[in-house]
């Protein structure tokens, strides 16, 4: 399972798609660098970051800190 597959596994969730305005078409064209609307992009970026840190084998605390740091940057 590639990281993109895992990211897609998260973003294929209907509830999250509805809440963040993601469409099946977005999912079909998704890459690890593709862009979406601002709200969706923030979630997609966060999920990518989550998959990155977990699959890198970071400890849970370090991984959680990196997610917070990522949001601190993107939410400015």
């Amino acid at each position: 399972m590639t990281q993109l597959d895992i990211v897609k596994s998260f973003l294929e969730d209907a509830e999250i798609q509805q809440k963040y305005g993601l469409t099946p078409a977005d999912m079909a064209q998704m890459t690890m660098t593709s862009h979406h609307n601002t709200r969706a992009q923030m979630l997609v970026g966060l999920v990518r970051q989550l998959v990155n840190v977990v699959e890198d084998g970071s400890t849970p605390n370090l991984a959680a800190n990196r997610l917070n740091a990522h949001l601190n940057t993107t939410l400015v």
Binding site: L50, P60, N65
Partner: protein, 743 residues
């Protein structure tokens, strides 16, 4: 891992050192009739990798083995032992040569396990409790020893311990142990052990920690706010309380879940033996009842026998045959009465005579004293004239005196015994009827005694039969603690139910608390507007969404895995069963628990075309169902791809199949596994040229090889044989030979 070779020396029925199988990538079939060493070949693999051989006792658990320290000298070929001289040793050795390729890196190993036993006299052996294990790694030109510290890692990489039972299994029981169709935990365990479902837990953990960090920062900011302080304070207090409760409930749920799992494992471990244990328990109860009935019958019989002795007197048995005596007594008594009467009459008569004699003198005759007086005076006072001595008158007077009767002495009174004898007789008469029927009563009592003894014998026979039946069952099952097993099983079932109840209650409370926490979060977010930096609110919100998302995705992935497993199992199931032409239905994994509240477990069932569950499946369908699930477990998980990594080794997996179905199983196995070693007795025919020997069913093997060649697979066949004249009934003669079959 690919297994290239196994060499077996003096191991169980493999005598000598010339026992070698070379395996290929593809399907390897080892043919062997019963008693020709099929299971021992399987055990050879087990011994090398697990330091034990298969535990055949029904109580044995999943993948259970009896370790070397339990079997010791039993590992050694009896024939080799029989030929070993006193003072010499026998070496048992199994070597498995494997190769393992990961990420383009090929490694070759020889795994060698050795056991030595030494004969000290005719009957005594020194049998150590340990075997020696070595791993040699191929290094350019030769195999070199690997340090012992690396052994476990290498073995785990070659085939992980938790995977082994799913790709190495023996016979119907091995399959049943892996997939228990009655257990809701069976598939859950399978998925947990053999899938990467745990990876989603790591995502949940990281998302939770990230959210908590953001939430703490948000809470700190909110505390500094000067609006709605009271309400915010209330909400935060409630929030902290609920969070603590949720944490506690999660801990309780984890504990209850672990405890339930542990109870389930206890139950699963007992499943193989519970049927035997319950049977033994029932037999034990039946034996106890039979014993109690037997003891009661013995006591009753003994009591009756004691009563017989007493009846000698209490029931007049002692008088048996005494009726003639009574009659004689009656006669004697009559005679006695007569004698008494006669004697009395005689006495009476005598007295009357005497009396008559005493008064025979006429009234005018003087009494004798006067007669004597007259004689003395020689003068008759009757006629008043002289009667001198010698005169006629004197003689006449004297004659009166001579005839004077003797005075009879009165008879001494005698004791009157008549009443005594009469009473005696009356008593005797009273017993007459009883004495007359003694014989009948004795016969009746002896009949009852015999009936009682027959009953004792019948109860004894029944008791002995129950004891034998129990012993047989205990020997067959190897179970000597049936009651403990049944109690443990009852305890495990009760625990499962209790923890299930706890889980339902805790999960309900947790959900209520989480719902309330969401409401509090929403209200706090609203109250925080203008009080806390928008980025902080956004961060907290999106991380909360991420945390919830990771939980939902794990659930979805789990359901996908189950579906994938079901689909793949159905593919294998159809491939194995369709060619037989008989009904086989479709595998469905039914979620257990209630529709409103599933418990996360699944139970495999067969459904018909109308979607109805089919009951009373025959053993062939059940076995193919389970084998299909095992194949699905191995082949469905594309991520770990066990089918590529690990060879299938199975002993007698198709013993319930007819030959058509067995052929389909071979094809399916070859298509599923990169390498498989299947040890079977099917595809053998009686060899008419040799007594009690078998030969390969070459037409079917040719057919199989043609099928496999069409899909690019290789077929490799060996036959286990025995020299002519050798009987597998005598362990110290057994000598299995290995023949390569040319297909």
């Amino acid at each position: 891992m690919l297994i290239n070779k196994i060499s077996i020396s003096n191991f169980l029925c493999y005598y000598g050192s010339e026992n070698q199988f070379e395996f290929v990538e593809g399907l390897n079939i080892v043919l062997g009739a019963n008693g020709y060493g099929k299971s021992k070949l399987y055990d050879a693999f087990q011994w090398v990798f697990s330091d034990g051989i298969t535990d055949n006792a029904p109580r044995a658990t999943l993948g259970g083995v009896k370790l070397t320290n339990a079997v010791k000298g039993e590992l050694v070929s009896e024939k080799a032992k029989a030929e070993c001289a006193v003072g010499d040793s026998v070496e048992t050795k199994v070597m498995v040569e494997v190769e393992d390729q990961r990420n383009g890196n090929l490694k070759k190993y020889q795994l060698i396990r050795t056991y030595r036993t030494r004969r000290t006299d005719e009957k005594t052996w020194v049998e150590p409790g340990k075997s020696e294990f070595q791993i040699l790694e191929f290094d350019i030109v030769s195999y070199k020893p690997v340090s012992e510290a690396k052994h476990d890692d290498i073995l785990e990489r070659l085939i992980p311990v938790d995977v082994r039972p799913y790709v190495w299994f023996q016979g119907e029981r091995g399959i049943s142990n892996l997939i228990d169709t009655s257990s809701n935990g069976s598939l859950k365990n399978v998925i947990k052990r053999l899938s990467d479902i745990d990876r989603w837990d790591r995502y949940i953990e990281v998302a939770e920690k990230a959210y908590n960090t953001a939430k703490n920062a948000f809470d700190q900011e909110l505390k500094k706010s000067d609006k709605n302080q009271v309400r915010i304070g209330e909400l935060q207090t409630e929030q902290r309380l609920l969070e603590t409760q949720v944490l506690r409930l999660e801990e309780q749920i984890t504990n209850a879940s672990q405890n339930q799992q542990s109870a389930q494992e206890r139950k699963d471990a007992l499943l193989a033996s519970i049927e035997f244990a319950e049977t033994i328990n029932k037999l034990t109860q039946a034996r106890n009842r039979a014993e109690a009935a037997y003891v009661a019958a013995v006591n009753q019989s003994d009591t009756f026998d004691e009563g017989l002795s007493r009846k000698l007197f209490s029931d007049n048995w002692v008088l048996l045959g005494s009726l003639p005596l009574l009659e004689r007594f009656e006669a004697k008594l009559t005679a006695y009465d007569d004698a008494i009467a006669i004697r009395k009459a005689t006495a009476n008569l005598t007295r009357q005579v005497a009396e008559k004699l005493q008064i025979r003198l006429p009234d005018n005759v003087p009494e004798p004293m006067y007669v004597r007086q007259m004689l003395d005076e020689e003068h008759c006072k009757v006629c008043n004239r002289a009667a001198p001595k010698g005169s006629e008158a004197y003689d006449a007077i004297n004659s009166l005196l001579v005839l004077e009767p003797e005075i009879l002495q009165p008879e001494r009174p005698r004791r009157n015994l008549k009443p005594f004898f009469k009473q005696f007789y009356v008593n005797g008469l009273g017993m007459k009827n009883s004495i007359e029927s003694v014989n009948q009563r004795v016969r009746q009592s002896y009949h009852e005694q015999n009936t009682g003894r027959d009953r004792v014998r019948a109860y004894k026979d029944e008791f002995d039969a129950k004891v034998r039946e129990l012993q047989q069952q205990e020997q067959l099952s190897g179970i000597s603690n049936a009651r403990d097993i049944v109690n443990s099983m009852n305890g495990a079932v009760a625990d499962i139910q209790k923890f299930e109840g706890d889980l339902v209650g805790d999960r309900t409370k947790k959900k209520q608390n989480e719902d309330r926490l969401r409401e509090i979060n929403a209200e706090l977010s609203k109250l925080s507007e203008g009080q806390v930096a928008p980025q902080l609110i956004q961060k907290k919100t999106i991380l909360f969404d991420l945390m919830e998302l990771t939980k939902r995705v794990k659930k979805t992935k789990y359901q996908e895995l189950v579906q994938q497993l079901e689909d793949t199992a159905n593919t294998h199931y159809e491939n194995i069963n369709a060619p037989t032409g008989a009904f086989y239905g479709t595998i469905r994994f039914v979620e257990t628990g209630t529709p409103d509240r599933p418990d996360g477990g699944y139970r495999p069932v067969i459904i018909d075309n109308d979607g109805r569950e089919v009951g009373n499946l025959n053993t062939s369908l059940v076995s193919s169902l389970k084998l299909s699930i095992i194949m699905a477990i191995v082949s469905a998980n594309k991520t770990r791809n066990y089918a590529s990594f690990y060879p299938l080794i199975s002993d007698a997996p198709v013993s319930d199949f007819d030959v058509v179905k067995a052929m389909m199983f071979f094809r399916e196995t070859a298509n599923t596994f990169r390498q498989s070693i299947v040890i079977v007795k099917e595809l053998l025919l009686e060899d008419t040229a040799r007594t009690g020997r078998y030969k390969p069913d070459l037409p079917r093997l040719h057919e199989l090889q043609a099928d496999l060649q069409a899909t690019g697979k290789t077929l490799n066949v060996y036959q286990l044989d025995m020299p002519d004249g050798v009987s597998n009934a005598f362990r110290n003669e057994i000598e299995v030979t290995i023949q390569k079959v040319d297909c």
